[in-house]
């Protein structure tokens, strides 16, 4: 297994191609694992404490070895960078057709450094690379830029597929996203801001190449088996029709939504708390990736008959919103009309901005208004206009604040451009009053619009996830869905599936983080794993597909160690930036305010937090007191070179 890494220095205009050797896959699997190593090496020769919006930051795009092989397990492209909004490790995945076209264009990884003197885009086509003028694209939203490139580049040797940024990225909003083919979004961490800071508006790829795999017959057999398992799974049939919106009713039942800045945890709007509307308004099915057997994507087109409010959006068509788009709109902002939820998904994609951090920034301000903490004068100071209504559930208010953020047009936009934590901090400093108890965030200041207080593993994920609070680094389904069978499989005990005890919740975080790191490095979609057609075992079932593609045949135990190694590199990056145990934390609301409603009322994270965190460090082999890695554990993972760097930085636990 070998692949190609394109390095682009936008300051000098130099583009060069390197071979990623087989040994790299032996150590880092691919996808996010190799992305991480490329970034790690970069910051051995560049100041890791650099301004993430400066030319020394690196932006890496990569695909895993299973991508574009016909495995059917979905494709995720991954971007990796130092996060401009949280100042820590940053990465984000998205599906769609861009990732496989990168491989067909002759590349697997793209590493971009420097800063172009004027707006440019990268064009990759069958092994060739050009840095092209993007003056005509600057100012466009992500969809307009995509459509222009697709039109201008034509259909030879293939249609173009793109990564673009919207106006949020151009204005270097910290929580700006990167949009794939105008509809899939690398939302978290501020990748769009990094591209904007480099004057890079887009990457467009065209290609007619193929992908070489070690054992095509073996992969074909694996793929056939996978297809059969999916076809036989009736729950996946339901998922195909709803996508992640299938979670809406279940979350409503157990009280796992995030309503009005998490003052509640159930949706209120009749329209949005049932998934009936998904089927009612879902007009067209769509395949996200050409290499996915599930095909859960859908598309809507508003004709104005759906509701009174839908008349504002007649003719609008876009991807059906995913769960977290719905959670941020119907939950965090209390938008109750389906068409507004869908529109929220479209405009946040068009502007290229993370709807988790945007919604929680807006809901923070709305909650201050709700409590009478904003006078007319204070609102005028914040918004630079005489009057700004801040009404829960009012789409017009939401859109105004969104534009404030995207175009950085007033103090609100500037205070909150790195999300709710830094926004609340800046606003508290501005007012000379502490409003932090209204900010909802976890590690790094990142926010997340799901209730986690009754779910100790999720709570811990929010505190320890390497890219800041988020579920997609260690999604705790063993606990949330109370999977006693999986608790027994991985721990030989039942407690990981028991919500009432902190026991095995830290262990569960560690194990699932390792599994997710593997899946992200294979380059497959996490939902294939969650739906469990091949067993909940990325180290086993998917490991066999990895072996057919790469020729690297590992035992499940070895693959779990590979996942652990990848997690440890992300941890090491953050340790070099000065993160310690005190940074593995969550906000006051989640920690101390009782869960208000739903099936598990009264739960507070503080009841279990420290116990779970201690256990997590123990399972990781990290030092409880400092939260730092130990030389012994890193050595056992074959990471002595990483330990040396940490020791030199004073970021390794004392023996």
């Amino acid at each position: 297994m070998e692949s190609r890494l394109l390095r682009v220095d936008l300051t000098t205009g130099e583009c060069k191609v390197e071979t990623v050797p087989h040994a790299m896959f032996e150590r880092w699997i691919g996808g996010s694992g190799i992305n991480n190593w490329i970034m790690w090496e970069h910051f051995l020769t560049h100041d890791i404490n650099c301004d993430p919006r400066g030319p020394d930051n690196i932006f890496v795009f990569g695909v895993g070895p299973l991508a574009a092989t016909g495995s059917g397990s979905g494709i995720k492209g991954r971007i990796t960078f130092k996060s401009p909004c949280y100042g820590i490790f940053g990465d984000s995945a998205a599906g769609g057709k861009f990732p496989y076209m990168v491989r067909f264009a002759g590349f697997d990884y793209i590493a971009i450094t420097g800063k172009a003197p004027k707006p440019v885009y990268l064009h990759l086509c069958d092994g060739d690379v050009e840095i092209r003028d993007a003056s005509h694209l600057w100012g466009m939203n992500s969809a307009e830029a995509h459509n222009t490139l697709v039109h201008d580049l034509g259909d030879f040797p293939s249609a173009a597929h793109t990564l673009t940024i919207g106006q949020a990225g151009e204005h270097q909003v910290g929580i700006a996203s990167v949009v794939s083919d105008a509809s899939r979004i690398h939302a978290r961490g501020g990748g769009g801001c990094v591209l904007g800071s480099k004057n890079l508006k887009a990457i467009a790829v065209q290609g007619s190449g193929g992908v070489r795999v070690a054992n095509p017959r073996g992969l074909l057999n694996w793929s056939k088996d996978f297809r059969q398992k999916i076809d036989q799974n009736e729950a996946i049939y339901g998922f195909k029709r709803r996508g992640t919106l299938g979670a809406v009713e279940m979350y409503q039942h157990i009280g796992s939504h995030f309503w009005r800045n998490n003052q509640g945890n159930m949706f209120r709007g009749d329209d949005v708390r049932s998934d009936n509307w998904v089927k009612k308004y879902h007009k067209y099915s769509e395949v996200c990736s050409a290499d996915c057997y599930i095909a859960c994507d859908g598309r809507y087109k508003i004709d104005g008959t759906e509701s009174e409010k839908a008349k504002k959006y007649v003719g609008e068509s876009f991807r059906r919103p995913e769960y977290l788009t719905t959670a941020s709109a119907a939950g965090a902002l209390d938008l109750r009309d389906w068409s507004e939820v869908a529109h929220w998904g479209k405009v946040t994609n068009d502007y290229g901005i993370d709807n988790q951090d945007l919604s929680t920034s807006i809901s923070f301000i709305m909650e201050l208004e709700q409590h009478g903490l904003l006078s007319a004068r204070q609102k005028a100071e914040l918004f630079d206009r005489d009057h700004q209504s801040l009404e829960w559930g009012c789409m017009e208010d939401v859109e105004e604040l969104m534009k404030d953020m995207v175009f950085q047009r007033n103090r609100f936009g500037k205070f909150f451009h790195d999300g709710p934590y830094y926004g609340a901090l800046r606003y508290s400093q501005f007012r000379g009053e502490n409003f932090m108890k209204y900010a909802t965030y976890g590690k790094g200041g990142a926010s997340f619009t799901e209730e986690m207080r009754p779910f100790p593993t999720w709570m811990n994920n929010m505190a320890v996830a390497s890219r800041g609070a988020d579920h997609l680094k260690g999604i705790g389904l063993i606990e949330k869905f109370q999977r006693r069978d999986l608790s027994m499989k991985y721990f030989g005990r039942l407690e990981a599936a028991d919500l009432s005890t902190p026991l095995l919740k830290g262990a569960c975080t560690a194990v699932v983080e390792n599994q997710v790191a593997l899946l992200n490095s294979y380059g497959v979609c996490l939902f294939h794993w969650m739906l469990d057609p091949g067993g909940y075992t990325p180290e086993d079932y998917y490991g066999r597909a990895f072996a057919e593609v790469t020729g690297i045949d590992r035992t499940p135990e070895e693959l779990m160690r590979d996942g652990e190694r990848i997690c440890n590199l992300e941890k090491a990056f953050n340790s070099r930036l000065g993160l310690r145990r005190e940074h593995d934390t969550i906000c006051e609301r989640w920690m101390f305010e009782p869960c208000p409603e739903g099936m598990y009322p009264g739960k507070v994270a503080a009841d279990m937090f420290e116990t779970v965190l201690d256990e997590y460090y123990d399972w990781r082999g990290w030092d409880r007191q400092s939260g730092l890695q130990t030389g012994a554990r890193l050595s056992a993972l074959g990471m002595d070179d990483v330990a040396e760097v940490l020791a030199a930085d004073g970021a390794l636990a004392k023996a």
Binding site: Q232, N233, E234, A235, I236, Y237, G238, F239, R241, R242, G243, T244, L245, G246, A247, E249, M250, H253, I254, D275, E322, Y323, L324, E450, H471, L472, I475, L477, K480, F481, Q482, R483, R484, D485, A497, L499, F527, M530, L531, D532, P533, M599, Y600
Partner: protein, 93 residues
């Protein structure tokens, strides 16, 4: 005989075409409830609710909770008047 209330969401509701119903079952177990439901709704429900290999409840993409919020397994007991919720098990997105 005991009475058990069943409530259905998402794909389950598509198959049953009703949101809730009550079953009278002789054995106070999830196994008896599952047999009553699959007997009433046929192959599609059987494929959704049961794992053919293990003969247990299908755990792939599904979630079954009692009224205390505890996941139910095929071997679990039921008490008269209990409600069991049949849901999809998917998170995030």
């Amino acid at each position: 005989m005991i009475s058990i209330h069943a409530q259905y969401q998402s794909r389950f509701r598509e198959i049953t075409r009703i949101e809730k119903e009550t079953f009278e079952i002789a054995e106070p177990t999830m196994a008896a409830l599952a047999a009553a439901i699959t007997g009433k709704y046929g192959p599609a429900m059987t494929a959704l609710l049961m794992d053919e290999e293990s003969k247990s409840l299908n755990s792939r993409g599904t979630l079954y909770l009692n009224s205390k919020g505890q996941r139910m397994y095929i071997e679990d007991s039921l008490t008269d008047g209990e409600t069991v919720f049949f849901m999809v098990g998917i998170a995030g997105g």
